[in-house]
Symmetry: C2
Amino acid sequence: MHHASEILLTLFLVFVAAQVGAEIAQRLKLPGVVGEIAAGCVIGPSLLGWISPDQTLPGTPLDVLAEIGVVLLLFSVGLETRLEDLKKVGKVAFLVGVLGVLIPFAMGGAWAHGSGFAWSNALFIAAAFVATSAGITARVLQELGALQRVESKVILGAAVIDDILAMLLLGVVVSLQEGQGFEPFKLLAVLGSAIGFIVLVGLGGARVMRWNSGWLEKPHSAHSPLAIVLAICLGLAWLSTLLGLAAIIGAFLAGMIASETRQQHTLETQTQPLLALLTPFFFVITGSKIDLAQLASPEAAWTLAIVTVIAIVSKFAGGWLGSLALGRNAAAIVGFGMVPRGEVGVVVASLGLAAGVFSDRIYAIIVAMSLLTAMVTPPVLAWMLKRYPAGGTVNPPAGG
Amino acid sequence: MHHASEILLTLFLVFVAAQVGAEIAQRLKLPGVVGEIAAGCVIGPSLLGWISPDQTLPGTPLDVLAEIGVVLLLFSVGLETRLEDLKKVGKVAFLVGVLGVLIPFAMGGAWAHGSGFAWSNALFIAAAFVATSAGITARVLQELGALQRVESKVILGAAVIDDILAMLLLGVVVSLQEGQGFEPFKLLAVLGSAIGFIVLVGLGGARVMRWNSGWLEKPHSAHSPLAIVLAICLGLAWLSTLLGLAAIIGAFLAGMIASETRQQHTLETQTQPLLALLTPFFFVITGSKIDLAQLASPEAAWTLAIVTVIAIVSKFAGGWLGSLALGRNAAAIVGFGMVPRGEVGVVVASLGLAAGVFSDRIYAIIVAMSLLTAMVTPPVLAWMLKRYPAGGTVNPPAGG
């Protein structure tokens, strides 16, 4: 009984902190997600200590709830995304994805090498500059009702490309470490299977659902279409991780497939309570990982500032250059939408720490950078989206 | 990444197994919950081994998801329960609760002592015969749309009384073990605080909500009334465990309070997707704990059969005698509705094992008994509810 008591208290505290944080943020005209991340920082080990670092390690209940939360979030974003719309922005999204990986990788590597790291280690650090965390941007776009804007489609499409490339880069830099063999054919196989998975599931699944979704209502269960679609979501999230992609890619694909069904509207309504319960865990736990003590020394704070600026500028540059065809304003939104690293940067940093490539200090700085980019993005993006109204339809170029 | 992959696969397997099990059960005209428990038994360690026993220990992600699932289930049952209705059946429910604890305790103790256990140990074993698990019955009543029947109100009211008494009895039997002092004043304090909590929260909360629930809509959040009510649910579930009660008592109270708000109908609709996602974890994991290997020897099977029959007959007798005022048919439904021990019996057995009172064999038998009663109840209860139509309103006596 005692154990149940402890975990229920933690769930209660995390959930209430998220609500309070979101409420304060919204009263300050900021996106709610900023408040949820800040609430996590406040109740986390850095300040109040209501959540300990042990409680959010991979595989703990809070970590799993957070994972389910972000999986459901990207599922719901997928539900609002039509394959047709993504296809229309395909070329721009591809360019954004590629440039948004190459520029941060180059700038991050240059900085790390310039700071005294050997090239093999510098490239590992550079890999932590690369991967965009779509969750944070997606939540802001959803909160502001902007998911139908052309910039949103580009960002979501680019996030998929970004994730594939980031996974490949990580494979390369890991193999460049001592004791690891560089296996180009293996990497090509990984690339092929990831692309094959996305194309097959995305195109094939969407076609099946568009053709006939009556079978979703065949089962006797009262929750029938929702339960089947959630099962598909969990299954594709798992398959994604199996292929080395982020779980949220599979969840997004599942949502996109489900958006082709005629039950799409009901599913969207039914997904909302799931988001209300579970996504707060993701954002609060993300925030709880910000280690404020690392900012205490002026030197560390200075390094963090430089790293964060490089991370923001390089990603923005990639997204902006890639989407200039949409006009400058839209390109700025796309560029900033790609900025947050969130939990993906944290994962790469953890791998680097485990591999002995990162010192504790550089680890803490990379984690703080990942989360700072996540904190900075929502208010800036919200401001941009209001300042530059939608250019109309999802047909690029939308003018500038 | 690898860890995330593993847990996502488990979530996927558990969720799909629940859907398949429920579907098969419903096609066989059985309640879906039977199929979910059976699915857990099939994918659990006894048969397929897709879930290992380690994965469902207290505090693991699956255990926490199961706990959240059953908390939400009782919350949703509370949402369909008016305090006024419970008050009307108060006396009958009290009698059912008291007799439903005393008779199983006496019969269980007599059997254990007769089987050669010293009285102090026999009474501990007897305590495992006592506590009803409201989750399973509640789910059957909900599935069959029978929550508004007078028998359902009696069962739910009695389950609250039952839980208080079971907690006290457990306190007594633990204190009777060697090395523990028997402290009647401490037990009285425990009893007082549990009753005080329930009365204060139930009556006070319902009054506040009936008086004004407009404040639930004050926050800016899109999920506002639901999120606040879920926070209350988690908070009361935690407080319950703090006072030694089951978490589901607090969740039920939270639902009952929320049923007094004018947003009750919306909340009910919004809770459904949460149940669809999370309750399967509770039932599948309950089922996965059935250790079929223990039934392999004829002797163990025979003991299990006797224990299970005693457990069913004694609980049925208590419920039946207590609610005879409602008529024989209604009393039969109430009696059988109180039969499932489910996870509560498992918890008592685990305590007994940890305290060195239970051998591995008696532990396995008590666990199997708890789960067998959980398996047997749904089909019998469903059959009874169909055979004996509702006696009309919630006003007892409803005739017979």
